[in-house]
Structures are given as structure tokens and as C-alpha cells.
Amino acid sequence: MASDQVTLLDLWASPFGMRVRLALAEKGVKYEYSEQDLVNKGALLLQMNPVHKKIPVLVHNGKPVCESLIIVQYIDEVWKDKAPFLPSDPYQRAQSRFWADFVDKKIYDFGRKIWTEKGEDQEAAKKGFIDSLKLLEGELGDKPYFGGETIGYVDIALVPFYTWFYAYETIGNFSIEAECPKLIGYCMRCLKKETVSKSLEDPKKVYDFVVMLRKKFGIE
């Protein structure tokens, strides 16, 4: 597919953006990365995602695809000859979709509350976050990855959030590893893969970014 033109509109710290970078890396797709300013949104972003005006957006031969998990499924379907993300059995596919959706519903929302809330609300978010990670640990079981022997859809949905764990822990004053050592072990295993390590950002840099956001939103 030498004539493919692929551009990713993204924000470096976004775990949703990292999902797409990881998916493209797993498929070996060459693309142009375009860092977006979400404060002063550019014309291209507004044109490519007029409904939500958010990143990530994948632009493939001029046509935009929005919403990170939809983009990941699209990448899987277009570049289908390599590294399939979803299993071939419909029931296993349904389980993968369920758990990726779980990551969206639980990990992102609770994680966000850890760095934006205080007091009781923050404590509730920490508990919800850890409970959710424990459910994911149960689902992982003895497998090296959620996808089995290789990285799959749920791994792509989840592992980018690892880059925000240091920020959650520091701001929330708790240790994720102490509660969920198996999940942290899993994240470390993923990071040994080149596709993962080159698609994920440095947690310390993400923490600085979150500190900046908290100042900006007046959360102290």
C-alpha cells in the first residue's frame, strides 16, 4: 500500500492518541504525526473532527476517522494481513470489545477524578480505579497479554494509561504497584516490546503536563 497517505492528529500526552500510535506501530504503517494545539484548535482539526473537535483523528487518504477505539478497529480492518488485534472467534472478539469498553468507562474516568478531585471524591476515585485494575488483572489471568501470546485490542486500549500512573500515584498519594503488582508486571512486559516503548510517552513528562493542567484549572 505504498500510495497510502496516513496522518495522525494527536496530542503527545493523550493516552487515546498513544493507542493509535501503538496500533499503527504494530501494523508497521508509516504515517505523519501532527501535534495539535487543543487551546487554539487549527483549521485541519476542526475540519476533520467537526462533531467533537478532539484528538486523535486518523486521516487516511484524506478521509478522517475519529474516536480512538474506532480508529484502532479501522486500522485492524484495513491493514488486515499483519498482527491482527482481535481474535477470529466471535465470542472472543466480544470479550475483547467488552474489556476495551471497560477500560474506557472505568480507567479513564476514575483516573481523571484522581487528578481533578480532592478529599472524599478523590478517595472514592482511587478505590474505583484500583477495583477496576483488579478486575482487569482477573481477566488477564496467566496470559502474557490480554491478546494471549501477542498484543491485542485490549492491550492497545489499556497500556497507554500506564504513562499516567505516575501522575495518579503522585497526586493521589498512593501506590498502584502495591495494590496491583500483577498489572504493573504486565505493563513492564509490554514496555519491553519496541512497538510499545516507542509509542508511549515518559511518565515523568506526563506528570509535569498534569501539574501544568492542574495549575491552569485552578486545582490545588
Partner: protein
């Protein structure tokens, strides 16, 4: 052919989605009504994570979350396809299905709102639906074109359920004057036999919505 069971809740559009998809695919299934105030052992066993309906059980294998169930049905019974074949068109269909999650949240705010909050929620719901009408539906009869697909199925609540909530709240949002094409779409959807024959009677639904809103008010 392994047995198919659906654990559902009669007023819930999330359950209706699954019924319509199974019917469109010609799949025989056993429907089990759940009392959500007294959840069955089976429901708790089959959906331990969320403990909600709908849950589809195929053979003895459970699938939860209505949108996940819809994709499973589409893949397991490929006759009468309910999603486009082309990956880009599929991504667009999934985008509009996902947009419905935001619409459901706006519908929830409308349902719970009172006074000024109700006005604000009605306005936001209207704006959300305008985008759906202009950019999602466009000039098409259904989101699926000439016939309904998973996108139409996912927006079913905009017909009968929204009408019941509007009546109880005394505020109209989806009208021919405000959302002409979407209003027409809802009417067309409800005329389709699979929808008409598989949705709750309006009076019964209205009583349910009224009752549940009164219970909320007491709390």
C-alpha cells in the same frame, strides 16, 4: 444450533436493541424478563462486572453491554448485514453509534432535570440531536440508507422513550419544527414491523416513566 437467551428489562431501549437485531437476523431466542429491583442469580452470574441488562447468552456463554452484543450478533449471524462492508463506512457507522452514548447522557440529564436545569438540559439535548440530524442522518431515510442498520437500532430510544419523557416533563425536544428530518426518521422507524411489534405499549411505558420519576422526586 446452540440456544440463545436474552435477559432483558421491558421498558429499556438497551434491551429492545437486542430484540430488533435478533429478529432482523431471524434468530430464535428465549426472552427472560429481569426484575432489576431483585436481580436473578443468573443475571449476577452472567454479568458480574455491571450486573445489568441486557445480557445475551449463547450456548452457555454470556455477552454483556448492548453495543458489544450488537457487534457479536452481526458477526455470528452474517445474513442480512447490519453494518457496511467497507472499513471506512463501518468506522463512520461506529462513530455515530458511539455518538449515541453522548446522546443517552443528554437524554438522562433531560430526564433528571427540573426548572432551570431542565431548560438547559433540553437545549443541550436539542443541540446534540441537531448534529446527529445534520451530519449523521443527512438526507437519508434511515442511517442505514433505505433500510435500518445497527445505527438506527442504537437510536431507537429517540422514538417512543423520548416521547414518553417529553410528555412527563411537559417539554418537547424532537418535533417537526425543530428537527424535521430526525422526527421523520423516528416515525419511519416505528412503522417498521420489527420495531412496531417489538416495543412497549406507549401507555404502559408512560406509566413506568411517570412512576420512576415520582420515585426519584421522593428521594
Amino acid at each position: 444450533m446452540a440456544e440463545v437467551k436474552l435477559y432483558g428489562f421491558w421498558p429499556s431501549p438497551f434491551s429492545h436493541r437486542i430484540i430488533w437485531a435478533l429478529k432482523l437476523k431471524g434468530v430464535e431466542y428465549e426472552y427472560i424478563e429481569e426484575d432489576l429491583s431483585n436481580k436473578s442469580e443468573s443475571l449476577l452470574k452472567y454479568n458480574p462486572v455491571y450486573k445489568k441488562t441486557p445480557v445475551l447468552v449463547h450456548g452457555d456463554k454470556p455477552i454483556a453491554e448492548s453495543l458489544v452484543i450488537l457487534e457479536y450478533i452481526e458477526e455470528t449471524w452474517p445474513e442480512n448485514p447490519l453494518l457496511p462492508k467497507d472499513p471506512y463506512e463501518r468506522a463512520m457507522a461506529r462513530f455515530w453509534i458511539q455518538y449515541g452514548v453522548d446522546t443517552t447522557a443528554a437524554l438522562g440529564a433531560f430526564y433528571h432535570g427540573r426548572g432551570e436545569e431542565l431548560e438547559k438540559a433540553a437545549k443541550e439535548l436539542l443541540e446534540s440531536l441537531k448534529i446527529l440530524e445534520e451530519q449523521g442522518l443527512g438526507d437519508k431515510k434511515f442511517f442505514g440508507g433505505e433500510s435500518m442498520n445497527l445505527v438506527d437500532i442504537s437510536y431507537g430510544a429517540l422514538g417512543y422513550l423520548l416521547a414518553a419523557v417529553e410528555e412527563v416533563k411537559g417539554v418537547k425536544v424532537l418535533e417537526p419544527s425543530t428537527l424535521p428530518r430526525l422526527h421523520a426518521w423516528a416515525k419511519n422507524l416505528e412503522e417498521l414491523p420489527v420495531v412496531k411489534e417489538n416495543m412497549p405499549a406507549y401507555d404502559k411505558l408512560l406509566a413506568f416513566v411517570t412512576g420512576s420519576m415520582n420515585r426519584l422526586a421522593k428521594n
